[in-house]
């Protein structure tokens, strides 16, 4: 692959401003996610907006290939070993789908997560002349290391990692960190009271409206 071609593609990879600043540590309280109604008029939102209305079917947020790439990347970023859980042990893949289907999250930022899957695959084609999923495990790891040295790649992997961490720490009521496997590994004590079905994130807005 020529350097010029690679540079051109990097320039095409638009990182939302909020995520750029988040990954460089300039945003304190807020993570990359900002609540938002999904009313954006951005043209690239088509896929996501067509999916988020069908909350019961998370699989429509990502197609099979995208989801398989996402899982592979999560496994590289947070692999399982004999002494500790991996990303899939606390269902980071399902958590990702839950986040991508959340109407309150800025569609631009969720689309960025999806775009990164595409960009990774494009980089595999440019660098190795084949799709990411066709690479050996060792080559996949190598490619993830390669993109981690690029501006877009470092940002994107950082966001994917944040979502893995959220899954790892999340309360079991959300259905991902079952048996608190992630918390137990880190010997992390969660606070009380724990969220309930009325007070969990995706229900709390409805619950407090009844207080008026």
């Amino acid at each position: 692959m020529s350097e010029n071609k690679f540079m051109k593609n990097i320039q095409d990879k638009v990182i939302p401003q909020s995520i750029k600043e988040f990954t460089t540590g300039q945003v304190s309280r807020r993570n990359f996610i900002r609540s938002s109604l999904a009313l954006g008029a951005l043209s690239q939102m088509t896929l996501l907006q067509s999916c988020i209305n069908n909350k019961s079917d998370y699989s429509t947020v990502l197609n099979k290939k995208q989801l398989t790439i996402a899982i592979a990347v999560q496994n590289i970023l947070f692999p399982k070993d004999e002494n500790s859980p991996g990303a899939l042990d606390f269902n980071a893949d399902k958590y990702l789908l839950w986040v991508l289907s959340d109407e309150r999250i800025d569609p631009e930022e969720n689309q960025y997560v999806i775009n990164g899957l595409k960009w990774l695959d494009e980089t595999a084609e440019e660098e190795k002349n084949t799709h990411f999923l066709k690479l050996s495990k060792r080559e996949q790891v190598q490619l993830v290391h390669t993109i981690s040295k690029t501006n877009w790649g470092e940002n994107w992997l950082s966001v994917v990692l944040t979502l893995i961490f959220e899954a790892m720490i999340s309360d079991p009521i959300y259905g991902f960190n079952t048996n608190e496997i992630g918390r137990k590994w880190l010997k992390h004590d969660a606070g009380y009271p724990r969220p309930t079905k009325e007070t969990r994130y995706d229900e709390i807005f409805k619950t407090v409206q009844q207080n008026n």
Binding site: P16, R34, L37, G40, D171, L186, A190, Y201, F205
Partner: protein, 583 residues
Amino acid sequence: MIKETRNEKQKIKTNSYDICIVGSGAGAGPVAYELSKAGYKVVVLEKGPWFKTKDFTKDEITAVRRSVYTPNLKDEPQVLETKNSNGEWEAKSNYKTGKDFWNGSLVGGSSNFMSGYFHRMKPDDFRLLSKYGAIKGANTVDWPISYKELEPYYAKVEKVVGVSGKVINHKFQEERSTKDFPYPPLAENVISRWIDIAADKLGYTIAPIPRAILSKPKKDRSSCVYSNYCGSYGCASDAKGSSRAALLNKALKTGNLKILANSKVYHLETNGKGKIRKAYYYDSDKNIQVIEAKIFVIAAQAIETSRLLLLSKNKDFPNGLANNNGQVGKNLIFSAGGTGSGQFFYEDLTKQEVKELKIPGVFVNRSIHHWYEIDDEKFNGKAKGGTVDFLFEHANATSKAIRQKWDDSGNLVFGPALKKKLKDYFTKQRRLKFEVFADWLPTDDCFITLDPKVKDKWGDQVARIRLGYHKHDLKVGNYLAKKAEDLLQEMGAKNINSSISGGAPPNLVVGGCRFGNDPKKSVLDKNCKSHEVENLYITDGSFIPTGGSVTYTWTIYANSFRVAEVLIKQIKLKTNMSSGKTI
């Protein structure tokens, strides 16, 4: 006018009260509490929803990973002006940058999420100009009231809101009308003792930090349950002295207070004679509603209070309500300083020390007061200094994990290396932090205006905030941080670091409508009544002309109790005059 055109299109229902309060946080609570107790009909208009105690949990996703307690920035952005690399002011909507200056849009406001580190301002903070002199480029002034005038209300807050702590005598201990706090200190971690020992060796003046958290029950409020998740989280036991738990809930019991949640005030209408008649607001269905009242109290937190006045233009106030002198929005201040930390590794400690250090939930509660006044040739003699509070790193696990994503060179870490880093961080050490508080000097480069283009979801201009700071703030901040680092060194901490910057902490914002005796140079008089509008009072932190070197909430509470007393006296006076009675 725009607002009147809107009104003509919709049928509006009007309700009438004695007092209308905009906002429900620390500036609003005391007024609502005192006036409703005194028998007046009070309405509170709160922009956000009404979370009750039962709705607060220690769920990290809800409390800190998503914008549940603050508006989403797409609906309600603000525009921030900062200097770019060329030294030019550059304005950007925070919808794009994510730098969020909302602190809590819900009943009780951001007081729900404070950590409750409560400091009184000290007597010299009320006379900064006359005590320390002018600093070039800073709009330093003396307050129109003294510490002595505010002291009884600090004491009242201790009792009514509930402040726990212990008074120890030291050089900078403020004069008190009561001997000690009404609530004993909260339970402390062993590290507090280590701090005391190190401070003693270094000769530092250090004191326990009072907290607006109950250490024993107070009627229907429980004492602290040491959940380990305090700051940024709503209190599930009502031990924390939020405006909601400590004041509004009690005021509701009088039957004289009505709280209207999801009610966003956008315009205050005057009668052409310098008096507000009505507050216009959007309800949760975006319908326009109107409240009539005799007195209007604005306490929407500094930025939104100035914004509301600037939005409320009419022919008598073409530059915004109470702004014919052009002072509304000026002299916005934050808290200068920064943070630092050091780590205590378990391998360096005995088993017993590790066991005690790891106990979660109990507090550190120590503050350096030694340099509240600096006497050092680096400052050409005496200068105003500040305080340093010590606290443990927050228990938020996701935030802690996120900080492990990068190595010392700033490269992203992942895979087995990241997992080892995470495991070590969570299981082999505990981090002690410190927060430096110094005066954020008021300047002409820190103020609020209306952005000419960006509008919120209701179509109203949003606040534009210029975030300039005075370089003297950094000098003081760095001086104090060095002292705190020395203390950590003495304690045996490792990886000690600090970061002092001119970055504005969004949760420590006051000013914009400073009070003063000169109507040309201030928005409010000494009683926080507008110089220009007869029945307008402002009781959030907007009134503060110079910030002191401590967190603001106690001072905001105290001042609001003071203004509430003034209001009651004035209403009684007017009532008696109109009925022909003499006082």
